[in-house]
């Protein structure tokens, strides 16, 4: 009977891992993976908010930004999440249509109106902006001396130059690029995508994979943000990185957070939403998430030298909600040839 005894020992081992019991209320926040990484804003924001709220903040890093919405839809009414953090304006309407998000109290809307430092007028009854930036292609100055100045220049790059982008089905930057190109090329967008194909090294699921490939030298340019060079400048004291300034204009991204309708801790969630507009959150953003803060905060040195596009593109989120499927299919078809 030794084997059976052994078997029970195995089973006992299997159950031995028991979750630690927490007495404090837990605020669960779904976000994308780079937000919660050690070098991301997650740890500092968690510490700052826990000081104020006497609660336990748990960031759950999902594999990509659109994955947050997918996960919430999959979990349905049973979701454990209080807050979804990391969607952007493009997805706002789509997210609202799912019916899983709660309206913000009016006091928060007034905070947004009064204090926001967004480049556009932002009004929404569900979503709270927390940072913003422009998409752009980042390159290394020593490798590309003559960066492309428009999307058509991108096509003229030498054949061995490769760019890496994100999948519009899974990551907000990927969706941003899709809309950016759509906004410039309109009906011609699918032709442009077809022409761009030979330049694309790969399409990754999330931003961090793409940026990793770029840093590793596998790709020469990466779809990221105009603020990305600030990271290399400030954190690494390396001014070799820059963003290609496109004369066609850059697409704007405003990242947002929202409370879930079935949030287990709705009051805490509202507290956190208010906290987003305070320095405890906003001051962390520029040097960890490497984006512009959404509320008045002083920018660190190095941000001033960044390229600021003169022309911005942004689609209405209702328009995106209507067209997203069609445009993604168009993209799929022009990339599968």
């Amino acid at each position: 009977m030794k084997l059976f005894r052994l078997f029970f020992v195995f089973i006992a081992c299997a159950f031995a891992v028991t979750p630690a019991l927490a007495e404090k209320p837990i605020l669960t926040i779904y976000t994308y993976d780079s937000f919660t990484s050690d070098w991301g804003p997650g740890p500092a924001i968690e510490a700052n908010f826990e000081e104020v709220c006497k609660c336990d903040v748990q960031f759950i890093g999902l594999d990509s930004s659109i994955g947050i919405l997918g996960r919430i839809q999959l979990e349905g009414d049973n979701s454990k999440a209080d807050i979804a953090l990391g969607l952007d304006t493009n997805l706002m309407h789509l997210a609202k249509q799912t019916g899983y998000f709660a309206e913000l109290p009016t006091e928060i809307s007034s905070i947004i109106n009064k204090n926001s430092s967004l480049p556009i007028n932002f009004e929404d009854d569900v979503f709270m902006p927390f940072d913003w930036g422009w998409f752009g292609f980042v390159y290394k100055k020593d490798l590309i001396s003559n960066p492309p100045q428009s999307f058509s220049d991108l096509l003229d790059l030498p054949d061995d130059m490769k760019i890496v982008i994100q999948d519009p089905r899974t990551a907000t930057p990927g969706l941003g690029l899709l809309l950016w190109i759509k906004s410039i090329y309109g009906e011609e967008a699918s032709t442009y995508w077809q022409q761009l194909q030979p330049k694309i090294l790969t399409v990754t699921k999330g931003w961090s994979e793409a940026y990793g490939l770029f840093l590793d030298g596998e790709a020469d340019m990466v779809l990221s943000y105009t603020t990305s060079p600030a990271y290399h400048l400030i954190a690494e004291e390396d001014d070799n990185f820059d963003v290609a300034a496109f004369a066609d204009g850059h697409y704007l991204q405003i990242e947002v957070a929202a409370i879930l309708k079935n949030a287990p801790e709705p009051d805490l969630a509202i507290e956190f939403m208010k906290f987003i507009s305070t320095p405890g959150f906003q001051q962390v953003i520029p040097t960890t998430n490497w984006m512009y803060p959404a509320f008045n905060t002083e920018l660190p040195e190095g941000f001033n030298s960044l390229f600021q596009p003169e022309k911005s593109h942004l689609f209405d989120s209702e328009m995106v909600a209507v067209k997203q499927k069609e445009w993604i299919n168009e993209w799929l078809q022009s990339s599968t040839n």
Partner: protein, 560 residues
């Protein structure tokens, strides 16, 4: 001592093994019920949201679906062709070289390639062919570490060894006098190929190619890791996208059904599972005398093929060691995420290995008894309930679970159990196939003895069956442990930073690219699988030592 007449023998058998029969029937029924309810729910899901026939057909013939199928079919055909070409040529070369040690080494490596987790293999393949890979640094740089060719290479890594093993044992099965006659008649290489080798390969080609085509057509983790965007895709990856990101469950259901239809059609047409995958033994080095053995052209082509095999199969494994950067790689072991994933994976794999082997033993017992009592319908039913999971892809299963259960429970709370269930169900077809022949043989051998001595039930199993089967059990436990430890399918739907298995964590690290932790983790997984296999061997060794004593005293007691 007594012996019973034929008719009473059947009756006694029928009386005796009621429990073992029924247990198997019940578990077979459970398996079938789980599988069928998932499939039915999918049908209704698809039917409920679309106006079933018209819109369903619309989805199937939509341009995007056609593109997916085209891409998957092209990739699978290429992979099949290359695997077959390399596998058959290498089997031929290896057999012609007739070198004991060489065949021993190649055959054992080819076995290794069959158990390497796909995520680890992907790592090794990028290690060879990537920009900074082994061949990349020497100068054989590929343009991209992602895309069609990487996927095809990875599929060849898994399937060429399979072809090699099957083809090699088929060559060995050719009667020795064939070779003698060929030598006497001074047949040329071409003639030998046409007359002997081709006739050995020919019956293999259809089942092998359809099996490989099927595996590559439904490939998930390799395509996810190495595919690099929408250009290279399979139905499984699209289903994953539809569920995980677009939340288009009806679309996922339609695609799943489409995949099941295509796969079952292929299986029915070509019957790939009739193939007998025996383990070939190394050449003895003396038996075969071939007229073209010393031929210089034959020699060169043989060595070229073996070199290709080496590059394709050996090198990715070597690349893992070569690229290992200990200083930064070791930081893996300081990460809490790693240890969490380690414990989750260990629990998962141990439980799944034990449970699936138990179920397999129950099913085989029951099937054996059913055959004895001549109940064909139930025998077929048990066969069906297991083989069903060969047909249903894991990601479809997970999707079905989602659709079926999401209204009742929070799936992410029970993610562990779902992944466990999937691992058990999907390793069952393989381990029953491996275990069945020897277990049935042992059962038949022991039947009379155990009935005479009255050793039955669990006692019989632990004193007679288990010690006789320790080697096979070690193998299946090892295989199903490796299977669950390396599985990256269902977990992609349920995984997050809070619930990770080792391969899922590896996938995350791999996506970051260039993380030396990824190489470390890949190595760790390989070593871990190997250690687990040794551990199971050790457990059985102890067990056997204990029970041989027991068995001797038992036999003494009864025969006195």
């Amino acid at each position: 001592m007594f012996s019973f007449r034929k008719s009473t023998q059947t009756q006694i058998l029928f009386e005796h093994f009621r429990i073992s029969r029924n247990l198997g029937i019940i578990s077979g029924f459970l398996l079938a019920a789980i599988g069928c309810s998932i499939l039915l729910r999918m049908f209704f899901m698809a039917g409920g949201n679309y106006y079933w026939v018209e819109d369903g057909i619309d989805v199937i013939f939509a341009k995007s679906t056609v593109l997916i199928i085209k891409s998957a079919a092209w990739q699978a055909s290429l992979s099949t062709l290359i695997s077959l070409l390399i596998g058959l040529s290498c089997a031929r070369a290896l057999y012609r070289r007739n070198n004991h040690w060489m065949s021993k080494i190649v055959l054992s490596t080819s076995f290794l390639a069959l158990v390497v987790p796909s995520s680890v293999a992907a790592l090794g393949i990028v290690g060879v062919w990537g920009r900074n890979g082994l061949l990349g640094t020497i100068g054989g740089e590929m343009t991209s570490p992602f895309g069609l060719w990487m996927v095809v290479l990875a599929h060849a890594f898994f399937n060429a060894p399979l072809v090699l093993r099957v083809a090699f044992s088929s060559l060995q099965a050719q009667p020795a006098y064939f070779w003698k006659i060929a030598a006497q008649r001074h047949l040329t290489t071409m003639q030998i190929f046409k007359l002997i080798e081709w006739s050995a390969f020919q019956p293999l080609i259809l089942p092998l190619s359809s099996l490989i085509f099927l595996l590559c057509f439904t490939s998930f983790s390799i395509v996810l890791m190495l595919g690099g965007g929408p250009n290279v895709t399979t139905l499984e990856v699209s289903i994953y996208h539809a569920v995980r990101f677009a939340f288009d469950l009806p679309l996922a259901a339609m695609l799943s059904i489409l995949q099941i239809i295509i796969c079952s059609g292929l299986i029915l047409l070509s019957k790939p599972f009739t193939l007998h995958i025996t383990s070939p033994t190394a050449n003895k080095g003396t038996i075969v005398c071939r007229s073209d053995h010393g031929n210089i052209i034959a020699k060169t082509t043989d060595y070229i093929w073996l070199a290709i095999f080496f590059i394709l199969i050996f090198l990715p494994l070597i690349a893992l060691f070569y690229r290992l950067d200990l200083t930064s790689g070791l930081s893996l072991f300081n990460q809490k995420r790693f240890w969490d994933a380690f414990f989750t994976s260990t629990n998962l794999s141990l439980l799944s290995a034990l449970i699936s082997v138990c179920i397999a033993v129950i099913l085989i017992h029951s099937r054996f008894r059913l055959v004895q009592s001549g109940n064909l319908i139930l025998t077929r039913f048990i066969d069906f309930s297991v083989s069903y999971y060969l047909l249903m892809p894991a990601i479809v299963f997970a999707t079905g679970c989602f659709i079926l259960l999401r209204d009742f429970i929070s799936l992410f709370d029970v993610a562990f159990w779902l992944v466990l269930m999937a691992n058990i169900l999907f390793s069952l077809p393989f381990i029953t196939r491996i275990l069945a022949p020897s277990l049935e043989r042992v059962l038949a051998q022991h039947d009379k003895l155990s009935l005479q001595l009255g050793i039955t039930g669990i006692r019989r199993f632990s004193t007679l069956t288990l010690p006789a089967l320790h080697r096979e059990l070690q193998l299946v436990l090892g295989i199903s442990f490796a299977f669950s430890l390396g599985d990256l399918s269902v977990i992609t739907l349920f995984g997050s930073q809070n619930f990770e298995t080792l391969p899922f964590y590896l996938y995350q690290l791999f996506s970051r690219y260039g993380a030396s932790e990824a190489d470390m983790l890949g190595m760790f997984l390989l070593v871990y699988i190997f250690m687990a296999y040794l551990f199971f061997g050790f457990v059985f060794w102890c067990f056997r030592k204990f029970h041989t004593l027991d068995r001797v005293s038992l036999l003494n007691a009864y025969t006195r």
